[in-house]
Symmetry: C2
Subunit: 342 residues, 2 copies
Amino acid sequence: MNSDFRMPTQADVARLAGVSTATVSRVLNNRGVITPDVRKRVLDSINTLNYIPHAGARALAMQRTGTLGAIIPSLNNAIFAEGIHAFEHTAQQLGYTLILSVSQQDPEREQALVTKMIERGVDGLLLVGNHHDDTVFDRLERAGVRHVCTWAYDEQSRAPNVGFDNATAMHAVVDHLVVHGHRKIAMLAGITEFNDRAADRIKGAQHRLNSHGLSLPDRQVFQVPYSIRESRQALWSAIDSDISALICGNDVIAFGALLEAQKTGLRVPDDLSITGFDDLSLSAEMSPALTTVQVGAASMGDTAARRLVAAVEGKLAVVSAKLDTTLVVRETTGPCTVFNRH
Amino acid sequence: MNSDFRMPTQADVARLAGVSTATVSRVLNNRGVITPDVRKRVLDSINTLNYIPHAGARALAMQRTGTLGAIIPSLNNAIFAEGIHAFEHTAQQLGYTLILSVSQQDPEREQALVTKMIERGVDGLLLVGNHHDDTVFDRLERAGVRHVCTWAYDEQSRAPNVGFDNATAMHAVVDHLVVHGHRKIAMLAGITEFNDRAADRIKGAQHRLNSHGLSLPDRQVFQVPYSIRESRQALWSAIDSDISALICGNDVIAFGALLEAQKTGLRVPDDLSITGFDDLSLSAEMSPALTTVQVGAASMGDTAARRLVAAVEGKLAVVSAKLDTTLVVRETTGPCTVFNRH
DNA sequence: CTGAAAGCGCTAACAA
DNA sequence: TTGTTAGCGCTTTCAG
């Protein structure tokens, strides 16, 4: 690392090209009209000096940074990774850079990260879920940072949403199961603390079952971390009661349940129907292929980025987008064969 | 969005507290000694004004941003997501913010992204693999941005490495297979264009096989994208020759091969042994559980962040770290039962 | 221990 | 069409 070497600045470029810094700035930002000859001289100087503008200085002078922030619960969850991948891709395409932080579902950490994002001057911010500390929204609104909550959709939410209704998404699952004759159903849900999506999925399943004259009592809802290992164990609690179908909070949980079921000789779907949520790419490939809910994480990330940028550049409010989910029926669900065990 | 509202600045805080901005800056950065009373007044003012410092301005005045950059090929690959998750976690812990960009294995895009990173003034940058455009390193060195290449380890590399030797990592796989009597082996490798890790894994397997007096001719090496679907198809090309073992470039490819093998009634490992690379969390859980190479993506991300920060704060060069890989023998490999098919 | 003032690199009026 | 001149918000000598 050559120690005391100064990166060339706009002033250096200006000097070399024999123009003012204002002119350099102009050609850099395509502002105003510039004599072809001058523009060429500037461009040449930039090249020979290997000049790279200083984003911090620019951010100070203009009122924007050209960055989009995202605070997500985790990256070790393929579905978030997929959503962020798309978000970054679109952001990049629109000329924005991504600043990414992981909250680990910790509200305090999230709050601190939001402040960090404001410090960094992100032009827009993506959040996951609608459940956030009030101060999060207060700060964001106060700072005038456009933001959007994803992975959820609720008309009542304080912030704009780009996502789907987790509760409603469960309706199709329940209907599918009920139509196939399932009456006793359990659920391996995600952990609901600080996770409104997981909670909504439970509520959605329960309500829909109720409307069919059935029920999913709380004691048949088991909260498990999004981990295959832990999900395998949870299967045992779930099948203690003689259920014929198992609704899982997401695909990873479903993988665990399926693997464990297979290992113990339980036939899926003959002895037990299993459903997932997310439709990871693996879900279609495994065998039996997983019946699950497709959420379109990629298009969610893409849409979130577009709406955010549109709002920033148009100086408007972010407009919400309600995304659809679709039940993908595959091989882990089938007709209920009652009295199958016990 | 309240339109023309100005975020409170340090000057506002100073005014309210009845001190100079210099003093505010001092308490903010714990520099020098400050009278307790003054400190309290400043802190109070900060609170009542909800003052949030401006990172851009600070970056301009100091010579650092408190950000770490990372440019990775993709996020839709669980192993990269895991590595970045750890990188971000450690960075956050050390007080740094992550700026993340995805290159999609495109050298031109990568080059542009590196420039973007320099613009943003990242204090350190994580790259994947050792194969990068010369201008990438030129620019980075010129700008004095510490950087580290991960997911690879090569004494000869131009940049510091935090990673493992992909070629050597294959030795254990080959040895394991050979010891079990396998002689005819094929490989489903990753696509080697712009991917030195994939290429090294092939070379590693070939060399080691050679040293056993065996060989892995190029025509038995099939390059496939890191996708289950595509890998399934590739299996057919591979087993055309009557091999008894299949080395896969990573776990995802192995999943595909395994799934397809099972589907067609090929018994694993009796009819065909299969190995992976990465040791994704799923690999241990599936059945048969996958024999694979554990790479410790998390500790790689963690170490990369620490080394980068140490170099930045100590004004030193980044020091490389050679990480170990370990073969995890599970159930997809077994003794060779020759003449098993055809 | 604290304040005044210069300046980090860039953009945006305002003149010319 | 281009140059001059203020800042943008913060840190940092240098005085006091």
